[in-house]
Symmetry: C2
Subunit: 192 residues, 2 copies
Amino acid sequence: MQLSSRQIEIIEAAALRIDEYGIQNLTTKTLAQDIGISEPALYRHFAGKNDILLTLLQYFKHQLQQRLLLLDTKASAAVTLKQIFQQQFQIFTENPAIVSVIFAESIFQFNPELSQKVKEIMILMSETVENNIVLGQKQGEYRSTLSPKATVTIITGAMRMAVLKWKLSKHQSDLNQDGQAVLDGLFKLLLK
Amino acid sequence: MQLSSRQIEIIEAAALRIDEYGIQNLTTKTLAQDIGISEPALYRHFAGKNDILLTLLQYFKHQLQQRLLLLDTKASAAVTLKQIFQQQFQIFTENPAIVSVIFAESIFQFNPELSQKVKEIMILMSETVENNIVLGQKQGEYRSTLSPKATVTIITGAMRMAVLKWKLSKHQSDLNQDGQAVLDGLFKLLLK
DNA sequence: CAATTAGGTTAGCAAACACTAACTTTATGT
DNA sequence: ACATAAAGTTAGTGTTTGCTAACCTAATTG
């Protein structure tokens, strides 16, 4: 993941475009205008539009991965899980456009390569949470009423829904607060 | 909601296109080819592409509303909630393309009118579930540990995630079974 | 039965699309 | 200082897009 500052500028402008006007409005023209260069200049930094999108997804996936490595592994399962989502909420709040790209299974559907990347990001999160649940159940921290798989579906689904509501409010609501509330609710149900 | 059979044919073909190849591949050309008529013939039935999409959303919203009215209002809250989602799963299984359209906040983002309709559908479901939670808590059927709002976020989020997983499996998994499992899991956590 | 209408056709248009050719300017390295 | 490479420009390509004009045909209706 070695990108020039211009490449990052392009990627972030692309995410912003998608966030604000949807994938259909992301054209080489609008993108070039957003960063104030000519259209062909984009091709000095990327092979084409598809390359921009693929790099964009790879870039965000890499960011997520890096952040997950920073987690305190000595903390209890519940504390770690809380950290995971707090971290996510922070990333999203800092750069809301990411959400539109990462949670958008449908918008990259036209391209197998791109939709595969989105899937990878989703699996990355799912597996992180699943490992946490398995560990927490083994250590007797979480109730074992539900299978880890079902638990993961509930948790990640609920978290995604919290993020979606925040997005639909056009980031007017407080993701950190509302997301935390839902997570606390989940803990009330899951913790022994 | 009075639509000619040709209009319904067009709408359903459009949903199928979106489901299989994404919104970017839904063009007047592909759509006309799908149903074996010429492109301009589409304009005998709709004012334009946008009109097709708006009618499509209205059509599915109407279908959902109609089905919700069929619910047995005398049943207990938990039974009703189960019915609501069973019904949804059934609709989705019968016509998988609907999912790609109804759960796609992002793909209609380019048009305020269309994204508003998607929002309406989401609110319709949220409110239905919320009413159920409030009733169930009042009647002492559900635990009142969580606020209704948080509970709704968890339930609808988990259900959406179940549907998303089914979609990502390309409908190979069993939505009815897996969705039911997640719902049962939620009941274990929510019921007194 | 004539007139109207509904529903279809072929041909084609202006705008938007991703991208390229050819050239110029700016930065870098020896 | 100067050759090279990196990064920008203007102009323009062929294709695709949503949609229209003009015309045809079969069904409906007064």
